[in-house]
Symmetry: C2
Subunit: 447 residues, 2 copies
């Protein structure tokens, strides 16, 4: 979207030339309109959104930032909101209704029933599936044909459904009980003879997803098998819906944000423009946990308070050992967590991965520790102090490699999300390791 | 892939029953074979890979981990490697050749020319584009038809190309000079009359990518416009190739890994099973930088060495202020960096984002600082010490909010990757902020 459009729209709204804004919006892609509304000042958003047709609005609404979406849904008239929902794909309407309060969702669904809204039963069905499963991201719009249908009948049927289903690309073949039998590639339908039957030309060796499969596993299937469209079935093999790759990209983005977020104790709803007090509330529990881990670290330092009283230079140097260990541990944690997320770590290779990280930690510890020894000797003129600093660093980088790999792997095997083995735990361990080894060695050899 | 298959293959290889392994592999999806080879012990990998047909091997090779791929490429016979390359899509063959040493790539390309390898000129063309641009991820396999072609001619042409191009889904319309005019949706071709001409039924309002566009921007286009296939053009509008959504998923994974990695100073090639010495070499520069930032922090603490000598309890409590500030700063950094990566932060809303993060930091500082004050008072029985601890925490959380948001935004505007505004810089600033404010207040009010 060009910045000029942003300026134009702002100027036209200020001059109350709404017909011209409407004209401008009609020539824009819904994704660009969504971006425009996301960036507009608050007082212009509703004005702009009102100028859209229900059909365009149904494409724009799901693309808005959550907080702006909620704001607009609360401000528009209910009749219009119902019309917009009517224009949406089943999966998007469900996502929006699922985010509202339960009582409001129910009242809206009842009203949709009354005005004979085609999708309300579908939404009632979809809303039951947890948001982060195959059922939660599938859509019910799917082209399904019977095995005895001939090529020309299939084409007629697809044509009759084409206004309802975007991005068709494949038709699915089901038996009389709705069990999935196979898949037809639309491209290959082009040159089939008019009499060819679905059952004779379908692929039967296809990848499917169980409706309860976690969305991260769904993304793995798309990634591994280079899929565009994935049929969703229940335990008995009945076709329930399909997942399209554009929705999977949203899942992949969401999971990547989540992993980055969990590493530093953030919740995924805590975005750039989440209301400040919501962000405060979301971050407080983790910072409180962090205060307690910091108190534990502090109490370890407290054990050596006498040593520090005798040699205050230790307090000056001790952040170096802890800092390097923390960073080295976070590097290992990131490599291992990402390896788990991308499915590279399996039962057959875990032990090798841990050994490698310990090795890398110790070798880096020896190199960086030697630098540190030399620097400390020149700065403070005390060789023993330098050697203790270097030795503590090697110890701590060993701890960093061991804990940075072991903790996420243990969490994975306990089915706890390994990204939660976040920096806070690793940092606590490397802080303790750094302070205890450095101050411990100093207590033994220098006092 | 079932764990049994792994066991079966290992047992069969140990018993040298290669014909049976071959049988097993023939019934597996190439992606599953790749996963199997990735997990097999080193001595079984080449044995297994040799049992694959050239066609299957061409699908398996690109899915292997980089180090295993390199190992196999170095061990297989050149004749076989050439056959495998011949079976690959242009973009995948290019990726593999581009990773080899330049002289080897050249010699292979010459041999490919001699055996009349169909794609060698295409590879020579593709290999010129930087890997992380639209040109670097596009494939040359694309269905392009002339505007005057009739529907039945188009279908015949697509049929003749179908063995060369996977995942067709769209045909593109080009003029006699290869300029892109529009796009045909294969599904809609199903019911067009035999006489309909491409120019009359094509969509002309389509999204395209310039060949030089950064791959991250390409991913944004797919994300925003929910694309499956994106045509790539040059500055003059000539059709050069197409990007498929499966390759974009790889880009999104790669960029997400890269962002997570840069935050902690890792290079993207540093994976779980990168050889230990390579990992050591890749991590050392950043740890060395980290040693210097730690020395700067240490020298700030050194300014207050006298104060610590008088009051060693300060050394016990000071890690708390620095630790909380560091975590709070990393939270802000993650929110802002992720907001930049997903395109949520723009020139119109940057200032608001910084103000928000400062506000969140200060409010959290007041709350956590109050806890800390009370706890320190009860532990150490010194109210003034507690108040100083709390005040230093508020100061440092202000610094965390300001720097955690300002630094990545400044880097973005200087066109430096904001993920490089990594934890090492933020942690240095919050360490300095924490130690200086706490020890500074203590020097003023307690000594």
């Amino acid at each position: 979207m060009l910045p000029e459009i942003y300026e134009d729209v702002c100027n036209l709204i200020e001059q109350k030339k709404f017909a011209e804004v409407k004209q401008l919006l009609q020539n824009m892609h819904p994704a660009d309109i969504a971006q425009l509304i996301n960036e507009l000042p608050e007082e212009f958003r509703l004005l702009t959104f009102r100028l859209l047709s229900a059909e365009t609005a149904s494409d724009v609404l799901p693309e808005l930032y959550d907080e702006i979406k909620d704001e607009l849904i609360n401000k528009i008239k209910e009749v219009r909101f119902l019309k917009i929902l009517d224009e949406m794909d089943s999966d998007e309407a469900t996502d929006i209704l699922a985010d509202l309060e339960h009582s409001r969702t129910e009242s809206l669904l009842k009203k949709l029933d009354k005005i004979d809204f085609e999708d309300s039963s579908e939404i009632r069905q979809l809303i039951k599936y947890p948001e982060d499963t195959a059922g939660g991201i599938m859509q019910l719009e799917v082209i399904a044909v019977k095995p005895d249908m001939k090529r020309d009948e299939i084409v007629e049927y697809i044509k009759s459904q084409a206004h309802e289903v975007e991005n068709i690309h494949y038709a699915f073949v089901i038996d009389s009980k709705n069990k999935l039998l196979g898949r037809l590639d639309i491209t290959k339908l082009l040159w089939q003879s008019a009499q060819a039957r679905a059952k004779d030309i379908m692929d039967t060796d296809i990848i499917t997803a169980d409706v309860e499969l976690d969305q991260e596993q769904v993304a793995h299937l798309f990634r591994k098998y280079d899929l565009y469209i994935l049929p969703v079935i229940d335990k008995q093999g009945h076709l329930l819906g399909r997942i399209t790759v554009d929705d999977v990209i949203d899942v992949i983005d969401e999971e990547a944000s989540e992993d980055a977020y969990k590493m530093v104790g953030l919740e995924s709803e805590d975005k750039v423009f989440t209301k400040p007090l919501n962000s405060v509330r979301k971050r407080l529990p983790w910072l409180t946990l962090n205060l307690f881990t910091a108190l534990i670290v502090s109490s370890v330092v407290g054990i050596f308070e006498n040593t520090i009283q005798q040699l205050s230079v230790l307090a000056v140097l001790m952040p170096i050992v802890a800092g390097l260990g923390g960073n080295s541990g976070t590097q290992t944690l990131t490599v291992i967590t990402r390896g788990i997320a991308l499915g590279e770590l399996t039962i057959h290779n875990t032990f090798r991965a841990i050994l490698k990280e310990i090795g890398v930690g110790v070798i880096n510890g020896i190199i960086i520790g030697s630098f540190a020894t030399v620097i400390a000797y020149f700065l403070k003129g005390n060789l023993m102090l330098g050697i203790i600093l270097g030795a503590a660093m090697i110890c701590n980088m060993f701890i960093a490699g061991l804990m940075g790999s072991l903790i996420p792997i243990i969490m994975k095997s306990l089915k706890i999300d390994p990204a939660l083995a976040s920096s806070v735990i690793i940092t606590m361990l490397t802080d303790i390791g750094g302070f205890a080894s450095f101050l411990g060695f100093a207590t033994i050899f220098l006092t």
